[in-house]
Symmetry: C2
Subunit: 343 residues, 2 copies
DNA sequence: TTGAAAGCGCTAACAA
DNA sequence: TTGTTAGCGCTTTCAA
């Protein structure tokens, strides 16, 4: 049986309230007595009972806000699933979670949602941000008011956010490069199609891929990076053009979206399977292409954890006062082939 | 704020105790009243508060036993880590976890440990089994006494265990086959080295690999399966012999242990890198070989979850009466290259 | 068959 | 500065 406050109180010859004040630094206590109590608690291996604490604090009621942009995308559905699961878990401990979904990316609406959540009494907020000055200011403002903010999926560098939960995008590009280097035949050319030149994530993936692939395969030519602005039609046109210009194209790395367009172009030219495609994100469409063998590898993000972790980290921070373990909580870089899709 | 028993009692015009009896089927209650209360609870969306329940039940104290064989191996250290984390988590809810570690595989000691744990009052047991008749009988005996048993890492087929947590080994072999098919050049031969011909896991991996690889690459010859009995010296000798006999050997799949031996033999013959190696298990030694590029891929087991899940499933079963979601809780089949090792 | 009440470990308000 | 006490939501025992 675990040690209780009462047992420590008895051991120290004081009351339960005094032990509580000592161990939780609530002040209004003699410093020496507090020290002595802390030492005793330590020796007895005291671990606060979660259930007792949750019950006692349930009137104070912790509320956690979550702002998810691009909530209508398949990837974010996984994130939302993780956040909902975390919600169910902390609700059983008496806390509340409010989730605000925003279609597309819209910094203005994200800022607005954050203000709403603060007004609703949220004690902490997790947000999928975009790189935007107002959003950064809002994060800093909240942090100043002692409302911890966690960025997830995407980060706001240099802001006062508590921590970031998401993928190490540079490393993700390197993972793709390693795989591509393993499966390409000798010679030929490889093409990188990115999404937006301004997106941090896309940029980092591209950089990681180019740097590592260059080191691994000097025999393969690397074509200039193309941008499809996350548009399948663009991706298709780029692929068509490149196929015409470079007959020895053997590999395509998609740093963002556009799988459908790429595959369509390859199919039209009868190059399916001959040009090896590696892409990102385990969307259901991408997964289908993987199953059909039209893509070789998908690099996944573990969206579930990206939704789950921020809520839990905030809950632990607010409920237990526990600081997050790392400033960058990188989620796993998952490699999927058609064979390890289900788990 | 969530709905409480008290609120339902007020709504139904009865006492809290009556509501409790109705919702938890404790008997000693008028059936019609019980029905009415259940309906009201349903309408109000009642979800029992975990903290309250944990606190009230803390005198009854749930104890969960864990028996881990081969506990001295690096892989099982991960499993133990997961079990310890689960322990910490359920201890905070007032439960206890007793972990019994056994070096090597020893069915007799495992049976003994299970009896000890039952004598110590365990309400449920998770065990890493071997295929052994006494062990199976013990599992069935405990299940008959209403002490749920979960097998993890390895299974006892046809026993009365509640569920199995671990890898789908057949599928794991197919994953390796898919990767091997992607990275081997045309022609040549591939060799499969398994561990024990009697081990279910090794056998399934081998079968999965052979079946899938045969479908994928008809141009590559498949040599007879060799067995190294998890011994590096054996693996080394096998590799040496095969390298001599088949100059066009281009790939080796290790269904069990023996990476060190294989790599040593390849190095001696100057074939390192030329013969592509895929193996299982993220042991620190294997990871080192992966980092050095001597192995192309490692198929991992997610040992952490294999230790964590069984304890949590047992806790939920005993504490909440919640049945496990699936009979086979397959853990993810993780693909690791040198680039996605850290997460 | 039902109600009333004690108590699980903790926090917080109040009293001393 | 310290002790006392009510109460969080639930289970369980005892009394009606």
């Amino acid at each position: 049986m675990a040690v209780t406050l009462q047992q420590i109180a008895k051991e120290a010859g004081v009351s339960r309230g005094t032990v509580d004040r000592a161990l939780n630094n609530r002040g209004r206590i003699n410093a020496e007595v507090a020290d002595r109590i802390r030492k005793i608690a330590d020796e007895m291996g005291y671990q606060p009972n979660r259930a007792g604490r949750a019950l006692a604090m349930s009137k104070r009621s912790i509320t956690i806000g979550v702002v998810i942009q691009a909530a209508d995308t398949p990837f974010m559905e996984k994130v939302i699933e993780g956040a909902e699961d975390a919600r169910a878990e902390v609700e059983r401990m008496g806390a509340d979670v409010m989730i605000r979904k925003i279609d597309d990316f819209d910094a203005g609406m994200a800022v607005e949602a954050m203000h709403e959540l603060r007004a609703a009494g949220c004690n902490g907020i997790a947000v999928v941000p975009v790189d935007d000055e107002r959003l950064k200011e809002t994060v800093d403002e909240f942090a100043g008011e002692n409302i911890p903010v966690i960025t997830f999926n995407s980060d706001i560098e240099g802001s006062g956010r508590l921590c970031f939960v998401g993928q190490d995008t540079f490393q993700s590009g390197r993972v793709a490069a390693g795989l591509m280097a393993d499966i390409l035949p000798g010679g030929g050319k490889v093409l990188v199609i990115s999404g937006y030149p301004t997106s941090y994530g896309h940029k980092n993936r591209t950089k990681g891929f180019l740097q590592e692939f260059g080191l691994l395969r000097e025999d393969v030519g690397i074509l200039d990076v193309q941008y499809d602005f996350d548009d399948d039609r663009m991706a298709e046109m780029i692929t068509q053009g490149m196929l015409k210009e470079y007959e020895d194209l053997t590999g395509i790395y998609l740093a963002a979206s556009g799988v459908h367009g790429v595959c369509k172009a390859l199919e039209e030219q009868g190059m399916e399977g001959k040009v090896k495609v590696i892409s990102n994100d385990l969307t259901s469409q991408n997964v289908r292409y993987l199953e059909e063998g039209k893509i070789r590898f998908l690099i996944g993000q573990d969206g579930y954890r990206q939704g789950y972790e921020p809520v839990m980290i905030l809950f632990e921070k607010i409920f237990d006062g526990k600081e997050p373990e790392k400033e960058f909580a990188y989620t796993e870089i998952v490699i999927k082939t058609k064979y390890n899709l289900v788990c």
